[in-house]
Amino acid sequence: MKRKITLLQILFLCVFAGCGAYLIKYNYDRAQTEKEMEYLQDVVRESAAETEQPDKLEITVGETAEEPEEQYESNGMLSRYYPLYEQNTDMVGWIKINGTKIDYPVMFNNSNNVYYLHRNFYKENSAAGTPYLDYQCDLQNWSDNLIIYSHNMKNGTMFHELLDYKSLGFWENHRIVNFDTMYYRCEYEVFAAFRTAVGSEDEFKYYEFINAGSKQEFDDYVARCKELSLYDTKITPQYGETLLTLSTCSYNVNDERFVVAARQISKK
């Protein structure tokens, strides 16, 4: 009897240790991911020739502050991102939403739409993955709809803060999404934020819309985004404008996605 009890104890302790080891690894992975991303952000900041934030800031509404001149490599790539591109040529851009933690490189793999789902910038296994462009999108010919996926991490990283767009107040203060390619600095204006459950009867398959076959198809897509949107932004993209779709998981219902749709407003 004693022996049986001891064996059971050993079994329970093994289960305890196994679960503990997994949890430690889970938290360690997330901490590592955050550190890696901070390093990447630092590299971009140094390369971008950004000034340190001054001790005195004067603002006059109606006057535009001078922006520092952008620097380019001889191949046309933005110098601010080139040092990272040299480390991994799968990098195709950088996404940033001011006032949030979303400030990450965007990767691309033209044959595997989940390659960077669980890989970091260095192609190592990572639960958080790296934001990546849909494998069907084309930045050279500018697809009508550029789709970027990333995880919704419970520790607030990756696209977690995208869910804040459920609130009108948040949208009003965070209308602009910056998605730079390796050659252009681009701004996008959010026009819709919605949820859709994968596999449901009324699923909106936004991820299948890459290029519009016609103006009608484009308008229908935009109309569907606005119809599902949690609020009315009164912004309607026109045919010919490039759209940006940011997609992440929402935990509202099973297999639901939270999607933020934006239209391009500047390309420099």
Binding site: K2, Q9, S47, E50, T60, G76, G169
Partner: protein, 401 residues
């Protein structure tokens, strides 16, 4: 012996449940309609969508008259998150071709215990037949308490005016649920605090209407010359150039702490209305500063404020015809600004992202975190530890005998 085993199992289960509770949903809403009650549990911070069909019963039972019941709604949100709770009517039969929307098949009249009208369909506009849902706002909950209860008297019946045209089939398909939304905060007013509970429930429409000042798009800086771009890697694109937003007369400027201005403590001077909000829209302060050149303009000469990363500062004119101009000066000394230029030697770059795979059946990547797995594992850990401990107790008791 059996008691010991049962005790051990119970302790293990209790520990497991408590551990799981740390990760489990931590917000509840209880809705009671007369003697019927339903409790809905959800994760705080997520939106609630609680079906009330069973609670209201079959609307077909209403018959010719209206039904009057007392409805109590209790919201428990551990984080004290301010919520707007609404009754949502929804229909799958929205059709612009219909004369009336199925959402108007029923009448609703909701009052508080003091008989103040919160909603009366008789006075509200009819829904657009193309509308799929209609929200009736019940009020803002958890403004100052984690557990907030509000009572209503709700009368509902069949709308004699619209029901014959809509028909029983469409009307009977209308669903009713309780939904939540984060409270957006009050409109800007000097000294207003976003956490103050208004006397009457917020009159929010299902689709928020925008108003206020148009924010101008900053004019782009001088474009880099075309020679900076290699023709080999920058193939001429046929895509039409994106249109930039039309430059409206700029009447406000927003800056974000952490972007254009560092977090810290600042002395603010100038001639402007300065509103500071958190990134979620909660107003921290709204102050008018004036340099005193126009005595008719009310304001302070300067004020000191602390701003944190993510805070949004909105600067608007303090009066018509007065250009808004403001200065933020750090109250502590900081490092001097400097610029860095990196000119990397460059190799030829590869072409930008181009797909090669042909489109086949496409799936939507699963971009969720594995936090549920960790919650389960945490509970299992707790149970295992408790079980091992209990077995040790049993073993020692046996040895003692």
């Amino acid at each position: 012996m059996k008691r010991i085993y049962f005790g051990a199992a119970f302790a293990a289960a209790a520990i497991g449940v408590n551990t799981a509770a740390v990760f489990a949903a931590d917000a509840n809403v209880t809705v009671s309609l007369d003697d019927e009650k339903a409790v809905y549990t959800y994760t705080a911070g997520e939106e609630l969508s609680a079906p009330l069909g069973e609670l209201f019963g079959s609307f077909e039972d209403i018959g010719g008259g209206a039904v009057k019941k007392t409805m109590t709604v209790t919201s428990e949100a551990e984080r004290g998150e301010e919520l707007v709770l609404s009754l949502r009517l929804s229909t799958d039969d929205a059709d612009a071709a219909l004369e009336y929307s199925p959402l108007d098949y029923y009448t609703f009249r909701i009052t508080d215990p003091e008989n103040n009208v919160i909603y009366d369909s008789a006075e509200a506009e009819l829904s657009d037949p193309a509308d799929k849902q209609k929200d009736i706002t019940l009020g803002i909950f958890n403004t100052s308490e984690a557990e907030d209860t509000k009572e209503y008297v709700i009368e509902y019946g069949i709308n004699a005016e619209t029901a014959p045209a809509i028909g029983e089939e469409l009307g009977g398909g209308v669903g009713i649920e309780l939904v939540s939304a984060a409270y957006e905060g009050a409109q800007a007013s000097p000294g207003a605090s976003a956490s103050a509970a208004p006397a009457a429930p917020a009159t929010l429409k299902p689709k928020f209407e925008l108003g206020g000042v148009a924010s101008a798009t900053a004019a782009p800086a001088a474009q880099p010359t075309a020679t900076a771009q290699s023709a080999a890697s920058e193939a001429a694109t046929e895509a039409p150039a994106p249109t930039e937003t039309a430059a409206a007369e700029e009447k406000e400027r927003k800056i974000i702490c952490g972007e254009e201005i560092a977090p810290g403590r600042y002395t603010v001077t100038g001639n402007a209305n300065v509103k500071i909000e958190t990134k979620d829209g909660e107003i921290i302060s709204e102050t008018a500063v004036t340099d005193g050149s126009d005595e008719s303009i009310k304001g302070v000469k300067q004020f000191i404020t602390s701003i944190e990363k993510g805070d949004v500062i909105t600067i608007t004119p303090v009066a018509e015809g007065v250009k808004a101009s403001v200065s933020f000066e750090k109250t502590n000394s900081g490092s001097s600004s400097g610029t860095k230029n990196v000119t990397a030697a460059s190799a030829s770059g590869k072409s930008t992202a181009s797909p090669t795979a042909s489109a086949s059946s496409k799936t939507n990547p699963k971009t969720g975190d594995m936090s549920l797995t960790t919650a389960v594992l945490g509970s299992v850990m707790g149970v295992s530890a408790a079980a091992a401990g209990c077995l040790e107790v049993v073993k020692r008791k046996k040895s003692g005998k």
